[in-house]
Amino acid sequence: MYETIKRYTSAFSVSGREKYLANLICEELKPYTDSIKVDAMGNVIAFKKGKSSAKKLMIASHMDEIGFIVTAIDDNGYVRVSNVGGINPIYSSYQTVKFENGTKGVTVIDTSVKKDYKVKDLVIDIGASSKKEAMKKVAVGDLCAPVANLTRLMGKRIAAKALDDRLGCAIASVSCKNAKTPAYDTYYVFTVQEEVGLRGSLPAAFGIMPDYSIAIDVTATGDTVGAKAMEVKLGNGAAIKLMDSSVICSQFMVDSMVNCAKRNGIKYQLEILEGGGTDTRSMQVTGSGSHAGCISIPTRYIHSPVETIDLKDAEACEKLLTTLVTEGIE
């Protein structure tokens, strides 16, 4: 799991430009699937034939991460940017970022702004001394994101960028390898453009038309400094989602997940996330609808470059997912 997380968080994969991670996942999972393809949107769809083909199960974890898109380059060679996905300017300031072509830069805040920072107050210094020089390396429309970083804390925890949702991808990937024979025809989908409105999973789900669907994504925790009332704690196990701002999970899926966790002694907790959406919604509402649920990984400081998780939670999430895939949903 740890190695997979490290590999996946190292890939460049800002929303809309997920092909590097997609290629990595395709190569890695090919031997474990009946078929694997990349669709027109860029979603990776890994298919495993089930014991029964009467039902279809779709699993979604998103490959994309939030980042910046270049809007202009000013006369001093500063790169002006807009956000791709939900950027918090404080979380994203004074970071080293990397563009798709490998160019590096640092994000700095316009010092004339004293408070209420907006994304437009962030600029990127790539070291250029003029507009002309900057334009040799960076063009309008280029994307960038924080450089890969991963730190182990106290051995059991990890702080890294883009665990939202590379960790979900890692869990789905490990599960895809571990789930020898799924109960139903199962589609492990690694989706694009989640951070900009759940856009990849919607057409992917339309193509599949699942009966059951499970998203794997991160959730906030109530034990983060200054958090609102929330029962989820880091280290307390896989979080079974009841609701977030985009979806109310099907009772049927919630019950199935809880029963599965109880039966197999998997540590779990129930989750209500009051700010944030997931691919669960798009899978729930596609076509005539599916029974949709979400396994969430408790995560502190989401959308910062030091998103922090507990490896035990990630392992519990993987075990829960794999057991649901192999034992079926009941």
């Binding site: 609102k228 009332a229 929330m230 029962e231 009841l242 609701m243 985009s246 979806v247 109310i248 999970c249 099907s250 009772q251 049927f252 919630v254 129930l270 209500i272 009051e274 919604r281 729930q284 509402v285 596609t286 076509g287 005539s288 609808g289 599916s290 029974h291 949709a292």
Partner: protein, 339 residues
């Protein structure tokens, strides 16, 4: 069934968005006999179809949403208090001291705790947020942990009552009284020789983003659709621009940017011909109703919108009139007969 009794029965059903399936059995039992076929969806919609019996008949779908706004338990606190998260757009201004049902393993009553005026600081007039409020149950924390775990839904406790002049008041008139108009229309059409199949769609998840209407309509695949929802009616000093419709003036038909103009026009012509009272409103863009998503379900469904005038929307004292319900039922029946 007498109209008030039907309105009371339906509005007192508790079906919070995302948890509408708890009402399916009751709906089937009470109204199942009115349909030839029934299906439900994973997204909380209950759909009843009555066939006209003619080969290759087209179909018209009447949509009203089954779900209501409510709350979900998110934390169990010491002293018998619960913290909840909102489902749909609750007006927190009117929550203080509201009575609720908590639908745990055992259904228990509760009340939103409020600070009495005697104890309030003088500058305590700021807007309340749900996150600052608690539901008082009077039970022990141990009992609550067992009986009302995280995820338990909470609804208003109000019953539906008659006021004077055919007015009725209760919770979740939005949008269960519109379900009532559809059922009344089905009664009016009983035994009529129709050219179209008629579909009653009681959709889930409207209050959380129209999820039940779009998915159920995808499955039902009708040729025409009418959404029936509620609309704010005039109260003193209200901005006329937004609340020009009158309680008792009949259903409010919307010409909007996201409904079908030809179909809406046809609907209005039918009502004029049949002398069925109605009101007309112009809305530039989205209507905030299922009409918006029905119009773009599948490869597009010509959709009209008719609304029940309502006072005090999204509170536990939503007020409507029986006369409007009757007129909307007549309107839907006339429309079905015209096709």
């Amino acid at each position: 069934m007498e109209l008030f009794k039907r309105a009371k029965t339906i509005t007192e059903i508790c079906a919070v968005s995302g948890r509408e399936h708890v009402a399916f059995e009751e709906l089937k039992e009470r109204f199942g006999h009115m349909f030839d076929e029934i299906f439900t969806t994973p997204t909380g919609s209950f759909v009843g179809i009555r066939r006209c019996g003619k080969p290759n008949a087209k179909s018209i779908l009447f949509d009203a949403h089954l779900d209501e706004i409510g709350f979900m338990v998110k934390k169990i606190c010491d002293g018998g208090f619960l913290k909840v998260s909102g489902i749909g757009g609750t007006d927190t201004k009117v929550l203080s001291a509201a009575e609720v049902w908590i639908h745990g393993k055992e259904k228990i009553a509760g009340v939103f705790a409020s600070t009495p005026p005697h104890l309030r600081e003088s500058d305590d007039n700021e807007k309340l947020f749900l996150n600052d409020m608690y539901i008082d149950t009077g039970m022990s924390k141990e009992y609550l942990e067992e009986n009302t775990p995280i995820g338990t839904v909470v609804t208003y406790k109000t019953t539906t009552e008659k006021l004077l002049n055919g007015h009725i008041v209760g919770k979740s008139m939005d949008d269960k009284i519109s379900m009532c108009t559809i059922l009344e229309a089905f009664d009016l059409l009983d035994g009529e020789d129709l050219n179209v199949d008629i579909i009653a769609q009681f959709s889930g998840g409207e209050e959380i983003g129209y999820i039940g209407a779009t998915t159920a309509a995808f499955k039902a695949a009708p040729d025409y659709a009418v959404a029936i929802d509620v609309t704010n009616s005039y109260i003193p000093e209200a901005p006329i621009r937004k609340m020009g419709n009158k309680l008792g003036g009949g259903g409010v038909i919307s010409y909007s940017g996201t409904t079908s103009r030809p179909f809406t026009k046809h609907f209005i012509e039918v009502l004029n011909k049949e002398n069925i009272p109605h009101q007309i409103v112009g809305e530039p863009g989205r209507t905030g109703t299922n009409a918006h998503v029905l119009q773009i379900a599948r490869d597009g469904i010509p959709t009209a919108l008719i609304s029940v005038p309502l006072k005090n929307m999204h509170t536990q004292a939503e007020t409507a009139t029986l006369g409007d319900l009757e007129n909307i039922a007549k309107a839907l029946a006339a429309l079905a007969k015209s096709l």
